[in-house]
Symmetry: C2
Amino acid sequence: MAQLSNVTPLFKDLAKIEHDRVACEDCSLYRLCLPLGLHSKDLIQLDKIITRSQTYKRAQPLFEANSKFTSLYIVRSGSFKTTISTNNGREQVTGFYFPGEFIGLDAIHQESYQSTAKSLESSSVCELPFDGLQELGKEMPQLQVQLLTRISKELAGDKSLMLLLGKKTAGEKLASFLLSLSKRFSERGFSAMDFQLSMSRSDIANHLGLAVETVSRVLSRFQEDGLITITSKSISLKDMDKLQLLCG
Amino acid sequence: MAQLSNVTPLFKDLAKIEHDRVACEDCSLYRLCLPLGLHSKDLIQLDKIITRSQTYKRAQPLFEANSKFTSLYIVRSGSFKTTISTNNGREQVTGFYFPGEFIGLDAIHQESYQSTAKSLESSSVCELPFDGLQELGKEMPQLQVQLLTRISKELAGDKSLMLLLGKKTAGEKLASFLLSLSKRFSERGFSAMDFQLSMSRSDIANHLGLAVETVSRVLSRFQEDGLITITSKSISLKDMDKLQLLCG
DNA sequence: ACAGATCATTGATCTGGATCATGGAAGATA
DNA sequence: TATCTTCCATGATCCAGATCAATGATCTGT
């Protein structure tokens, strides 16, 4: 079967870059991002404390667990995963992050990051030093509201994931996962039906509390049943209604 | 074997009440609660928007999923559980809440609660209307910081729970759960070794992604191995070091 | 104080998904 | 272009924990 031999990295060009100098106001992520709802003059203030990163190559860490917490990050292009570990080294993928999404929110309450964040492909971020953000927050309540809203949304997502991990079968897990990706992609102006999986099968398996082999098998089954077409990293959802039903 | 025939409800008297009129300043939960770090005059403002509830009896809902989101709640006495459900009615216990802890943070980003909260025993709460809180927040950045810190802490806890649900064995799950309760009780000035389980075995099982029978068996095994003593709702941790090791 | 309902414990059996094993495809490195 | 390594798919086997079943303990309401 023909494979796409040279897959374009996901979201690479979503934020039109000139990496290091694009004001929030001009960024194509604006409507998905933190600044939404801020006044233009506030936006300029915010802009001042943001650092736009250079490119992270695949698998490069954004921060490591237990390192000092200094900044929140917003994905600018590409994608990331976060993981936490047990003492004896078992690892759990706690989330995948796409453009406009925050990374590091779970560290705010303490001195150091509790997860490790790694890029899944060639990616970039906006760095928001937390001290600076708090300073700004004193004069810009709307910024605090935004932050609170975002973190609440992540919390809600994690509660749903608990339901998935605790109560769903392998098939339900995969169906839920694919539809959740689909939703996030379409919110970002991409096709809800056809997209690239920037993460490996084993990242998916780990995130959903499954073995890689199970993920492979279930995806193959979904394909046989005409629910999806999948070749390596490219997936196409053929029957979203049936997938929806399958979610449990 | 002798059972405690009439177990005193957990935490019933922690917040010395006179239910409806105890200023935050005088509340025994002060150091665990939201107001921590606020100036005295701010505290008075905060006090004004807080409603102190009457007693919720066992299994009484604090709010239901899909009802309109209006308020955050802080447990004042007793304890609560929150649950979410799949479309086809399977339920996941997403958290247990003790005095000084927030309920409803995952609803901030939307119009309605996404979970249902029910009391586990005779309990009471402080109700914080979210609109009022936001108004206050505009003049009291410290309040926003507190809120952000609390929600981040819950987020971090949920990430750890994902690790537990996805990667731990039944024994590791129970050991982690018991130690986590122990920690929270001792933070509240109670014994870290001896406490009451206000939730049923089936709530525990559900929360940890196990069957009730498994919870029973593992607890019995822990008892045989001298790690704990347990009679109905009363538990006593006999070997915290070994339990710690068992967490994985 | 009693009856019915719910909750907890323990044993017997079953199963979904893990683990083990293999071979092939696709990136990475040089 | 060859070699190494990681990733993915699929088959065979196994097991931790689910499910089924039965009994006793505890709670609730009257």
